[in-house]
């Protein structure tokens, strides 16, 4: 089994992932500029064994992570997994208890050093917007520029230009309470972008918005942040949001960074059952290995029938008892099951999704497979065959089901 040690450094393994070039990032006192190395590969931010406790509870467990210039990093995890804590530690809103956080080569957080948040040259978009209700839209946005721009005329111009960009220039003199939720979050986005900070932090910025606004703002965030070339650390518990936005995704589980890589890698090669679950599985089925196939895959027997399965990444099996994680996308519904890789089942539920139908299917041994897509509608209670190709079937060493997020 692939063991993910909490001490293992999870650097960005994919050599293809390269950030946009950014030559300098001012931090510390804005008047004095700390020159960053201009090489593309230089890490903007490094978490080196960072730990954080609340009372005696470990909120972060030896986090190692590097972010490259211009990179859009999303931390994904359920509530209580430590992603907000990580963000707040990076922002300087929380102090850390072990390890260090570096901006370039400079330590900004360690148990003995703490650079205050206002000296870190960051910006942040908050979940609840955090717009100051006594300031107008323009004043809210202009506030973030005050640290670097003393010329009021220039400041006004920059604020105006950015409000234009987010489509709110006509509401510059309005107060936040007169704006809709989406408009408020756009003001918050403008405030984060206006000073072209070295890094922008996003704290679940879309979670308090309704579905259609969410999608529109997600696109705006993706476009505007990439245009600004700032590095981004974005946290969310929504897998589709994470995959849509990220260059790199980090998955957190109980304060531990369990996998860090491109969305495609996480989806195709989940390092743990937890990661597989969090990135979407149709079902989890126990099975026993029967033989190793010439292709390198395994033929396994479940209580519902025979399937072919593959291992994820460098997972090592230490026994024949395995748990299968079934991805729903490659699964195909047909009229009957004819052999290996195909199971019989009964349609329990069907939901129309516009471009087709999502089905919930119960296999003969009682396991439920969720979100099985078909262009055609298979009626409730009808008996069907389910073809589960090897790419949909990922085997992990047998374990308790408590790993579900």
């Amino acid at each position: 089994m692939k063991s993910i040690s909490s001490e293992t450094k999870l650097n960005i393994a994919d050599s293809q992932i390269q950030g946009t070039e950014r030559s300098t990032w001012k931090y510390g006192n804005g008047r004095r500029v700390a020159k960053q190395s201009s090489t593309v590969a230089a890490d903007v931010v490094t978490f080196d064994g960072v730990e954080k406790y609340y009372a005696e509870q470990k909120a972060l467990k030896s986090i190692h992570l590097s972010i490259k210039p211009g990179q859009f990093v999303v931390l994904l995890g359920p509530s209580g997994s430590g992603k907000s804590t990580m963000l707040r530690c990076l922002g300087g809103l929380e102090k850390i208890d072990a390890g260090e956080i570096r901006f370039g080569n400079t330590v900004v957080s360690s148990p003995r050093v703490h650079l205050p948040p206002d000296r870190r040259n960051l910006a942040m978009v908050f979940q609840d917007f955090a717009l100051w209700p006594h300031m107008t839209v323009a004043e809210n946005v202009g506030f973030a520029l005050e640290r670097s721009e003393s010329d009021k005329r220039v400041l006004k111009e920059k604020v105006g230009a950015l409000l234009e960009k987010v489509g709110l220039s006509h509401k510059a003199d309005r107060y936040p309470n007169t704006l809709s939720g989406g408009e408020q979050q756009r003001v918050s986005l403008a405030r984060a972008l206006v000073a072209s900070p070295g890094m922008i932090l996003f704290d679940e910025p879309l979670s308090s918005l309704d579905a259609h606004l969410r999608e529109r703002l997600r696109v705006e965030i993706a476009a505007l942040t990439r245009e600004s070339a700032s590095s981004v650390l974005y946290i969310t518990h929504d897998q589709s949001e994470a995959f849509a936005l990220a260059d790199v995704v980090g998955i957190l589980d109980q304060g531990e960074l369990v996998q860090f890589g491109k969305p495609e890698t996480l989806y195709n090669e989940p390092a743990t059952p937890f990661v597989a679950h969090f990135t979407g599985v149709a079902s989890q089925i126990d099975a026993t290995i029967q033989e190793r196939l010439p292709t390198g895959h395994y033929r396994v027997m479940t209580s519902a029938g025979q399937l072919d399965a593959r291992l994820s990444g460098s997972t090592i099996l230490d026994s024949d008892e395995v748990t299968l994680m079934l991805r729903s996308a490659p699964i195909h519904i047909q009229s009957d099951a004819f052999g290996a890789g195909e199971l019989k089942g009964r349609v329990v539920d069907v939901a129309y999704r516009g471009r087709g139908y999502d089905h919930v299917i119960e296999t003969m041994d009682g396991n439920l497979l969720h979100s099985v897509f078909s262009e055609f509608r298979w009626e409730r209670q009808s008996t069907v065959g389910i073809r589960i190709p090897v790419e949909a079937c990922i085997a992990f060493p047998r374990q308790a089901r408590s790993t579900e997020p």
Binding site: G28, A34, K58, R112, H114, N121, D128
Partner: protein, 598 residues
């Protein structure tokens, strides 16, 4: 695995910058780190000096007079025996009965007013909170003087037959005391209960209705949810009544009804002074309040009464019509007529009418005011009270905000919890006991020996005022400070503002309205403060309250009433001036706070 934590002190890099400069600053403490480290100890010293030390010393004195050179025994219960007999015992009994009566009256009226304001769409409901602020700003002795004036023989009201001997004896006796204290307590009870009644939310009622409960059962089901608020209301009025000195030294004194506070005053102010006995009576007051708080805790412990969640929908308002609407309107008008209009009008009319003369135009006179203003001593009390009230209100609000911030911090720590206990204790402690503690502690040879020679100075009076105002004021500010979303401050920090600038620019303006009200409330209560002024004012210095009481005790009723009218006029003038200035000069955004969303 055992968790080891690095306990080394964290060093804030104050002026980070280049890598070199960052590293070179590692061993320097920034201003920010310094203030965050010193803030709480400074608050502790302030609370210690203005509250804990005087009160604790005074209370210890009851057991050990010798410790403070006040008697021969190191450990004695003599003071408690004295405090448990005769007039002292009667005083305690009367105080408790008055407290119970007043708290029941206040809570009943306040609950009705809150229901009218929060749960009906009657127009009159909108004006209830403002009118209650009016009631809150009138000291009890001014109300008492007003009642004495209205009920006195030969005045306008007895001329038109509204007042006779029977009514006079009834209202200038126990019933009057309970009623005045009950009515004065209504604002406290209202502000304690109103948010709970408003926030109870229609979901609880709807859940009861949808599962088959009719109106009476719905009320029975939902009412216990406001139990903590009801207890808070009962206790705060009980504590206020127990510690009242205004009615005690006017109506109760005239009717020869002993109460605990006048007994404490008598033990300290009459020769030979008996500090231990006063301390023992104070002990009883503190113990009574402690017992009441314990009962409250026992009843509401282990039950959740959370009503204000992000999901709470505010209750739908009913539309009373016909007799019900008439009755509710009548109730509101009657209450405010009795508490505000009648005493105010009575006092004004009485001071404009020749004494004992029938109500005719020719009998109108300004003599009460000309006499008052011709007295050379008039300017003195006004100026002293004005100066002390402005200084005290300003200091109280500044320290109050700091304390509220400590108490609402997500991790208040040990010091935060201790501060909370001290403040809760101080709110319950009658002003008279605190003042007695001040007289006692700052009069001790040890204190004088230490060079702290402030007894009999305005500084001690100022500290006394601060001690009285700080606990209730900081608790008043806890609400608005707690409502501040932590992310507003964090947003300021992240976007480049230091701690001080973030607080000033991003948070303080949101508190501006509450701070202005807290300032005005402290100003008004200090301007007319009686017990502390009576006990701590330097010899020869008169404040507004002591001057009015002196006139009253010298039977110059018209003069005392005229003085009360002047006092109220000044307070109203200051409120209007401050609120108008705020309206005119505060930035638009500051006034925008609390305005609902589109």
């Amino acid at each position: 695995m055992s968790i080891t934590r690095n306990e080394a002190p964290v060093i804030e890099i104050g002026d980070g910058g280049s890598e070199e400069s960052t590293n070179s600053k590692l061993h320097q403490l920034s201003f920010e780190a310094l203030t965050s480290r010193l803030g709480r100890p400074v608050l502790w010293v302030i609370l210690g000096v203005v509250s804990v030390i005087p009160t604790a010393s005074f209370l210890i004195l009851a057991f050990s007079p010798r410790l403070f050179d006040q008697g021969p025994s190191w450990l004695s219960v003599l003071a408690f025996q004295q405090a448990s007999a005769g007039t002292e015992l009667a005083g305690l009994r009367n105080s408790i009965l008055i407290g119970i009566g007043a708290s029941l009256i206040a809570s009943t009226i306040a609950a009705t007013l809150a229901l009218i304001a929060q749960r009906t769409d009657l127009k009159v409901g909108r004006y209830i909170p403002t009118a209650l602020w009016g009631v809150l700003l009138v000291p009890t002795y001014v109300v008492a003087v007003g009642w004495e004036e209205i009920l006195s023989k030969g005045n306008l009201f007895s001329q038109i037959g509204l007042v006779n001997a029977g009514v006079r004896n009834l209202f200038l006796g126990p019933l009057g005391i309970v009623l005045i204290l009950g009515f004065s307590g209504v604002p406290f009870a209202y502000f304690a209960m109103s948010p709970a009644i408003a926030g109870m939310g229609k979901r609880f009622e709807e859940a009861a209705r949808i599962h088959g409960a009719r109106t009476p059962k719905t009320i029975r089901t939902v009412a216990p949810i406001i139990l903590p608020a009801l207890f808070a209301a009962l206790i705060i009025v009980f504590a206020e009544a127990l510690g009242d000195f205004g009615v005690a030294s006017t109506i109760a004194a005239n009717a020869n009804i002993p109460v605990a506070t006048t007994n404490i005053m008598a033990a300290i102010a009459t020769f030979p002074t008996n500090f231990p006995e006063a301390a023992a009576v104070s002990w009883y007051l503190v113990l009574i309040l402690g017992a009441v708080l314990t009962v409250q805790n026992r009843i509401i412990r282990n039950r959740s009464y959370t009503v204000l969640s992000g999901r709470s929908a505010f209750a739908a308002k009913s539309h009373p019509k016909g007799k019900v609407a008439f009755g509710l309107n009548l109730f509101v008008y009657a209450f405010f007529s009795i508490t505000l209009a009648v005493p105010a009008l009575g006092a004004v009319i009485s001071t404009f009418l020749v004494q004992y003369a029938p109500f005719k135009f020719s009998n109108l006179t300004l003599s009460a005011y000309t006499t008052l203003f011709s007295q050379q001593s008039l300017g003195g009390p006004i100026l002293v009270s004005l100066k002390m009230a402005v200084i005290n209100a300003t200091l109280t609000v500044i320290i109050g905000v700091a304390i509220a911030k400590v108490l609402t911090s997500p991790r208040p720590g040990f010091t935060g919890r201790i501060t909370d206990v001290i403040l809760v204790g101080s709110v319950a402690l009658p002003a008279l006991v605190l003042s007695a503690g001040f007289i006692f502690v700052f009069n001790l040879p040890l204190t004088v020996h230490l060079g702290i020679n402030i007894f009999g100075t305005l500084i001690l009076l100022g500290i006394g005022y601060l001690a009285i105002a700080l606990p209730s004021n900081s608790r008043l500010l806890i609400g608005p400070v707690a409502q501040l979303d932590g992310s507003l401050m964090a947003a300021g920090r992240i976007h480049g503002a230091g701690q001080a600038k973030s607080f000033r620019r991003c948070v303080l303006p949101l508190l501006a309205k509450s701070v202005v009200w807290a300032w005005l409330l402290t100003f008004a209560s200090t301007f007319g403060e009686l017990p502390t002024s009576q006990m701590l004012a330097p010899t020869g210095v008169r404040t507004m309250a002591t001057a009015i009481l002196a006139s009253f005790q010298a039977s110059h009723l018209a003069s005392a009433t005229a003085f009360s009218v002047v006092q109220m006029a000044i307070v109203l003038l200051v409120i209007v001036a401050v609120q108008t200035s705020f309206g005119l000069f505060a930035p638009a955004g500051w006034k925008n706070i609390g305005v609902g969303r589109r």
